[in-house]
Protein backbone atom coordinates (compact mmCIF):
# COMPACT_ATOMS: atom_id res chain seq x y z
CA UNK A 1 0.00 0.00 0.00
CA UNK A 2 2.83 2.36 0.99
CA UNK A 3 4.59 1.48 -2.30
CA UNK A 4 1.49 2.45 -4.31
CA UNK A 5 1.13 5.73 -2.43
CA UNK A 6 4.75 6.64 -3.23
CA UNK A 7 4.21 5.74 -6.90
CA UNK A 8 1.02 7.83 -7.04
CA UNK A 9 2.77 10.85 -5.51
CA UNK A 10 5.65 10.47 -7.98
CA UNK A 11 3.22 10.24 -10.92
CA UNK A 12 1.39 13.34 -9.67
CA UNK A 13 4.66 15.28 -9.34
CA UNK A 14 5.65 14.20 -12.87
CA UNK A 15 2.25 15.20 -14.30
CA UNK A 16 2.36 18.65 -12.64
CA UNK A 17 5.97 19.15 -13.72
CA UNK A 18 5.11 18.11 -17.29
CA UNK A 19 2.16 20.50 -17.63
CA UNK A 20 4.25 23.38 -16.26
CA UNK A 21 7.21 22.59 -18.48
CA UNK A 22 5.27 22.17 -21.74
CA UNK A 23 6.53 24.38 -24.53
CA UNK A 24 4.45 25.05 -27.64
CA UNK A 25 5.98 26.49 -30.79
CA UNK A 26 5.35 27.37 -34.43
CA UNK A 27 7.32 28.82 -37.34
CA UNK A 28 4.24 29.50 -39.48
CA UNK A 29 2.22 31.97 -37.43
CA UNK A 30 0.43 34.78 -39.24
CA UNK A 31 0.72 38.50 -38.63
CA UNK A 32 -1.02 41.14 -40.73
CA UNK A 33 -1.40 44.88 -40.52
CA UNK A 34 -3.61 47.55 -41.99
CA UNK A 35 -2.91 51.23 -42.48
CA UNK A 36 -6.05 53.29 -43.08
CA UNK A 37 -6.25 56.96 -43.96
CA UNK A 38 -8.84 59.00 -45.85
CA UNK A 39 -6.63 58.80 -48.93
CA UNK A 40 -5.29 55.26 -48.92
CA UNK A 41 -5.69 51.87 -47.27
CA UNK A 42 -3.09 49.19 -47.55
CA UNK A 43 -2.32 45.94 -45.85
CA UNK A 44 0.41 43.32 -45.65
CA UNK A 45 0.52 39.71 -44.51
CA UNK A 46 3.35 37.60 -43.12
CA UNK A 47 3.08 33.82 -42.62
CA UNK A 48 6.55 33.29 -41.17
CA UNK A 49 6.08 34.28 -37.55
CA UNK A 50 7.93 32.10 -35.07
CA UNK A 51 6.22 31.95 -31.71
CA UNK A 52 6.55 30.08 -28.43
CA UNK A 53 4.38 29.67 -25.33
CA UNK A 54 5.37 28.08 -22.05
CA UNK A 55 3.86 28.41 -18.61
CA UNK A 56 2.34 31.87 -19.12
CA UNK A 57 5.28 33.24 -21.12
CA UNK A 58 4.96 34.14 -24.80
CA UNK A 59 7.48 35.12 -27.42
CA UNK A 60 7.11 36.15 -31.05
CA UNK A 61 9.71 36.81 -33.73
CA UNK A 62 8.80 38.33 -37.10
CA UNK A 63 11.08 38.52 -40.16
CA UNK A 64 10.28 41.98 -41.53
CA UNK A 65 10.98 41.10 -45.17
CA UNK A 66 8.34 38.35 -45.03
CA UNK A 67 5.54 40.91 -45.14
CA UNK A 68 3.94 40.74 -48.58
CA UNK A 69 2.25 43.85 -49.97
CA UNK A 70 0.04 43.96 -53.02
CA UNK A 71 2.14 46.69 -54.64
CA UNK A 72 5.85 46.28 -55.24
CA UNK A 73 6.69 49.92 -54.60
CA UNK A 74 5.01 49.84 -51.18
CA UNK A 75 6.90 46.67 -50.30
CA UNK A 76 10.21 48.25 -51.31
CA UNK A 77 9.50 51.47 -49.38
CA UNK A 78 8.39 49.49 -46.32
CA UNK A 79 11.53 47.33 -46.29
CA UNK A 80 14.17 49.85 -47.31
CA UNK A 81 12.95 53.28 -46.19
CA UNK A 82 10.70 52.73 -43.17
CA UNK A 83 11.75 49.47 -41.49
CA UNK A 84 15.37 49.43 -42.76
CA UNK A 85 15.11 45.66 -42.84
CA UNK A 86 18.72 44.99 -43.84
CA UNK A 87 19.74 46.70 -40.59
CA UNK A 88 16.83 45.44 -38.44
CA UNK A 89 15.64 42.24 -40.16
CA UNK A 90 13.49 40.98 -37.28
CA UNK A 91 10.87 42.40 -34.95
CA UNK A 92 10.06 40.65 -31.69
CA UNK A 93 7.86 40.59 -28.62
CA UNK A 94 8.59 38.86 -25.35
CA UNK A 95 6.06 38.89 -22.54
CA UNK A 96 4.24 37.26 -19.64
CA UNK A 97 0.49 36.83 -19.13
CA UNK A 98 -0.42 39.15 -16.27
CA UNK A 99 -4.21 38.82 -16.30
CA UNK A 100 -5.89 36.63 -15.32
CA UNK A 101 -3.38 36.25 -12.48
CA UNK A 102 -4.03 32.52 -12.06
CA UNK A 103 -3.93 31.81 -15.81
CA UNK A 104 -3.96 28.15 -16.83
CA UNK A 105 -4.30 26.69 -20.33
CA UNK A 106 -7.85 25.60 -21.04
CA UNK A 107 -9.96 24.41 -23.96
CA UNK A 108 -12.06 27.54 -23.41
CA UNK A 109 -10.92 30.70 -25.19
CA UNK A 110 -9.55 33.04 -22.52
CA UNK A 111 -8.97 36.76 -22.90
CA UNK A 112 -5.58 37.67 -21.50
CA UNK A 113 -3.33 40.67 -21.03
CA UNK A 114 0.34 40.17 -21.77
CA UNK A 115 2.95 42.55 -20.43
CA UNK A 116 6.21 42.58 -22.29
CA UNK A 117 8.67 44.29 -24.57
CA UNK A 118 8.46 44.95 -28.28
CA UNK A 119 11.64 45.29 -30.28
CA UNK A 120 10.83 46.92 -33.60
CA UNK A 121 13.18 48.85 -35.89
CA UNK A 122 15.89 48.45 -33.26
CA UNK A 123 13.81 50.25 -30.61
CA UNK A 124 12.70 48.48 -27.43
CA UNK A 125 9.43 49.52 -25.79
CA UNK A 126 7.39 48.03 -22.98
CA UNK A 127 3.73 47.46 -23.71
CA UNK A 128 0.59 45.63 -22.62
CA UNK A 129 -1.22 43.66 -25.30
CA UNK A 130 -4.67 42.06 -25.15
CA UNK A 131 -5.26 38.74 -26.79
CA UNK A 132 -6.77 35.31 -26.46
CA UNK A 133 -5.34 31.90 -25.62
CA UNK A 134 -7.11 28.62 -26.26
CA UNK A 135 -5.92 25.02 -26.04
CA UNK A 136 -7.47 23.37 -29.13
CA UNK A 137 -7.08 19.91 -30.66
CA UNK A 138 -4.63 21.43 -33.17
CA UNK A 139 -2.49 23.12 -30.51
CA UNK A 140 -2.42 26.31 -28.47
CA UNK A 141 -4.15 29.08 -30.40
CA UNK A 142 -2.90 32.61 -29.74
CA UNK A 143 -4.55 35.72 -31.16
CA UNK A 144 -3.94 39.41 -30.55
CA UNK A 145 -5.01 42.78 -31.94
CA UNK A 146 -3.08 45.91 -31.12
CA UNK A 147 -1.87 49.21 -32.50
CA UNK A 148 1.71 50.17 -33.26
CA UNK A 149 2.48 53.88 -33.18
CA UNK A 150 5.19 54.56 -35.76
CA UNK A 151 6.67 57.40 -33.67
CA UNK A 152 7.29 55.03 -30.74
CA UNK A 153 9.67 52.99 -32.86
CA UNK A 154 11.31 55.88 -34.72
CA UNK A 155 9.79 54.81 -38.03
CA UNK A 156 9.92 57.97 -40.10
CA UNK A 157 7.37 58.69 -42.80
CA UNK A 158 8.17 61.49 -45.27
CA UNK A 159 5.90 64.50 -44.79
CA UNK A 160 4.45 64.16 -48.32
CA UNK A 161 3.19 60.66 -47.42
CA UNK A 162 1.72 61.56 -44.00
CA UNK A 163 -1.79 61.66 -45.49
CA UNK A 164 -1.35 58.21 -47.05
CA UNK A 165 0.17 56.28 -44.15
CA UNK A 166 -1.58 56.03 -40.81
CA UNK A 167 0.43 57.03 -37.74
CA UNK A 168 -0.98 54.05 -35.84
CA UNK A 169 -0.94 50.71 -37.65
CA UNK A 170 -3.51 48.05 -36.70
CA UNK A 171 -1.83 44.68 -36.20
CA UNK A 172 -3.43 41.23 -35.99
CA UNK A 173 -1.65 38.07 -34.86
CA UNK A 174 -2.93 34.53 -35.26
CA UNK A 175 -0.86 31.45 -34.48
CA UNK A 176 -1.39 27.81 -33.58
CA UNK A 177 1.48 26.39 -31.58
CA UNK A 178 2.16 22.67 -31.20
CA UNK A 179 3.98 20.94 -28.36
CA UNK A 180 7.77 20.62 -28.78
Amino acid sequence: MKKYSILMVMALIFAIGHSFGQTFKTSTGEISFVSKTDFETFEAVNNQVTAAYSNGKVQFRVPINSFIFEKKLMQTHFQENYMESSKYPNGSFKGVIVTPEDFKLSSKEQTVTVKGTFNIHGVEKEAEVSGTVQNTKDGVKLTANFGINLNDYEIGVPSNLMTKISQVIDVKVNAILTEK
Partner: protein, 153 residues
Amino acid sequence: MKRILKILLAIILLGMAVAYYLYQKPTELLTSGNADFTYTIEELEAIGATESDTTFNQTHVGKKVELIGEARAKNIQSSGATIFFETENENIIVAAAFDGSLNNDLQEIELGSNLEILCICNGIAKPEDPDDLLSETTISFNRCSILNDSYKK
Protein backbone atom coordinates in the same frame (compact mmCIF):
# COMPACT_ATOMS: atom_id res chain seq x y z
CA MET B 1 5.60 78.45 -78.49
CA LYS B 2 2.46 76.36 -78.88
CA ARG B 3 4.61 73.44 -80.05
CA ILE B 4 6.86 73.67 -77.00
CA LEU B 5 3.80 73.64 -74.74
CA LYS B 6 2.48 70.54 -76.51
CA ILE B 7 5.85 68.77 -76.08
CA LEU B 8 5.96 69.75 -72.39
CA LEU B 9 2.42 68.49 -71.87
CA ALA B 10 3.30 65.21 -73.60
CA ILE B 11 6.38 64.79 -71.36
CA ILE B 12 4.31 65.51 -68.23
CA LEU B 13 1.62 63.02 -69.27
CA LEU B 14 4.26 60.39 -70.07
CA GLY B 15 5.91 60.98 -66.67
CA MET B 16 2.55 60.62 -64.91
CA ALA B 17 1.83 57.39 -66.83
CA VAL B 18 5.24 55.93 -65.87
CA ALA B 19 4.75 56.97 -62.22
CA TYR B 20 1.27 55.41 -62.17
CA TYR B 21 2.60 52.19 -63.72
CA LEU B 22 5.44 51.96 -61.18
CA TYR B 23 3.06 52.68 -58.29
CA GLN B 24 0.54 50.06 -59.37
CA LYS B 25 3.08 47.36 -60.29
CA PRO B 26 2.27 44.25 -58.25
CA THR B 27 4.78 42.60 -55.92
CA GLU B 28 6.64 39.72 -57.55
CA LEU B 29 5.60 36.64 -55.63
CA LEU B 30 8.08 34.28 -57.28
CA THR B 31 11.81 34.85 -57.43
CA SER B 32 13.46 34.60 -60.85
CA GLY B 33 16.79 35.44 -62.44
CA ASN B 34 20.32 34.68 -61.30
CA ALA B 35 21.10 33.81 -57.71
CA ASP B 36 23.41 36.05 -55.68
CA PHE B 37 24.38 33.03 -53.57
CA THR B 38 24.00 29.27 -54.01
CA TYR B 39 24.17 27.03 -50.95
CA THR B 40 23.47 23.49 -49.95
CA ILE B 41 21.63 23.41 -46.64
CA GLU B 42 24.82 22.09 -44.96
CA GLU B 43 26.77 25.12 -46.25
CA LEU B 44 24.02 27.48 -45.12
CA GLU B 45 23.93 25.87 -41.67
CA ALA B 46 27.70 26.27 -41.35
CA ILE B 47 27.54 29.96 -42.30
CA GLY B 48 24.57 30.54 -39.98
CA ALA B 49 26.37 28.87 -37.10
CA THR B 50 29.68 30.71 -37.51
CA GLU B 51 28.70 34.20 -38.65
CA SER B 52 27.12 36.73 -36.33
CA ASP B 53 23.51 37.57 -37.16
CA THR B 54 24.56 41.14 -38.06
CA THR B 55 27.18 39.95 -40.56
CA PHE B 56 24.88 37.33 -42.06
CA ASN B 57 21.99 39.75 -42.42
CA GLN B 58 24.08 42.55 -43.92
CA THR B 59 25.30 40.15 -46.60
CA HIS B 60 22.13 38.18 -47.32
CA VAL B 61 18.90 40.05 -46.52
CA GLY B 62 17.00 40.90 -49.70
CA LYS B 63 19.38 38.85 -51.87
CA LYS B 64 18.41 35.99 -54.20
CA VAL B 65 19.59 32.69 -52.75
CA GLU B 66 19.48 29.28 -54.41
CA LEU B 67 19.05 26.50 -51.85
CA ILE B 68 19.65 22.80 -52.37
CA GLY B 69 18.52 20.37 -49.70
CA GLU B 70 16.13 17.76 -48.42
CA ALA B 71 12.54 18.67 -47.59
CA ARG B 72 11.84 17.66 -43.95
CA ALA B 73 8.34 19.06 -43.39
CA LYS B 74 5.74 21.18 -45.13
CA ASN B 75 2.90 23.38 -44.02
CA ILE B 76 0.40 24.23 -46.74
CA GLN B 77 -2.33 26.82 -46.19
CA SER B 78 -4.54 28.64 -48.68
CA SER B 79 -2.52 31.84 -48.21
CA GLY B 80 0.80 30.13 -48.90
CA ALA B 81 3.09 27.31 -47.89
CA THR B 82 6.32 26.77 -46.00
CA ILE B 83 8.89 24.06 -46.58
CA PHE B 84 11.32 23.20 -43.79
CA PHE B 85 14.66 21.73 -44.82
CA GLU B 86 16.43 18.86 -43.09
CA THR B 87 19.31 20.23 -41.01
CA GLU B 88 22.08 18.41 -39.16
CA ASN B 89 21.65 20.65 -36.13
CA GLU B 90 18.05 20.45 -34.89
CA ASN B 91 18.42 23.92 -33.35
CA ILE B 92 18.79 25.48 -36.79
CA ILE B 93 15.55 25.90 -38.75
CA VAL B 94 15.65 26.71 -42.46
CA ALA B 95 12.17 27.81 -43.55
CA ALA B 96 11.24 28.69 -47.14
CA ALA B 97 7.86 30.30 -47.88
CA PHE B 98 6.00 30.01 -51.18
CA ASP B 99 3.07 31.90 -52.62
CA GLY B 100 -0.31 30.12 -52.52
CA SER B 101 -0.29 29.86 -56.33
CA LEU B 102 2.32 27.07 -55.97
CA ASN B 103 0.24 25.01 -53.54
CA ASN B 104 -0.55 22.29 -56.09
CA ASP B 105 3.15 21.79 -56.88
CA LEU B 106 4.01 21.79 -53.20
CA GLN B 107 1.37 19.15 -52.46
CA GLU B 108 3.38 16.88 -54.76
CA ILE B 109 6.60 17.28 -52.83
CA GLU B 110 7.50 14.07 -51.10
CA LEU B 111 9.20 14.61 -47.76
CA GLY B 112 12.81 13.44 -47.93
CA SER B 113 13.15 14.40 -51.59
CA ASN B 114 15.81 16.78 -52.85
CA LEU B 115 14.71 20.31 -53.64
CA GLU B 116 16.36 23.16 -55.51
CA ILE B 117 14.67 26.49 -54.94
CA LEU B 118 15.35 30.17 -55.55
CA CYS B 119 14.20 32.59 -52.85
CA ILE B 120 14.69 35.99 -51.31
CA CYS B 121 16.54 35.82 -47.98
CA ASN B 122 14.70 37.37 -45.03
CA GLY B 123 17.61 36.93 -42.65
CA ILE B 124 18.72 34.96 -39.67
CA ALA B 125 17.34 35.23 -36.15
CA LYS B 126 19.35 33.83 -33.27
CA PRO B 127 18.18 33.54 -29.63
CA GLU B 128 18.72 36.88 -27.89
CA ASP B 129 19.47 35.38 -24.47
CA PRO B 130 19.78 31.89 -22.94
CA ASP B 131 16.29 32.13 -21.36
CA ASP B 132 14.56 32.67 -24.72
CA LEU B 133 11.66 30.32 -25.39
CA LEU B 134 12.63 30.62 -29.05
CA SER B 135 15.89 28.79 -28.52
CA GLU B 136 16.39 27.90 -32.19
CA THR B 137 18.24 29.83 -34.87
CA THR B 138 15.88 30.49 -37.79
CA ILE B 139 17.00 31.32 -41.32
CA SER B 140 13.97 32.33 -43.36
CA PHE B 141 13.30 32.87 -47.03
CA ASN B 142 10.19 33.83 -48.98
CA ARG B 143 8.83 34.37 -52.49
CA CYS B 144 10.47 31.06 -53.40
CA SER B 145 10.21 29.34 -56.77
CA ILE B 146 11.01 25.68 -57.45
CA LEU B 147 13.92 25.02 -59.84
CA ASN B 148 13.87 21.21 -60.14
CA ASP B 149 11.04 18.74 -60.56
CA SER B 150 12.70 15.57 -59.26
CA TYR B 151 10.80 15.99 -55.99
CA LYS B 152 7.53 14.79 -57.52
CA LYS B 153 5.93 11.72 -56.00
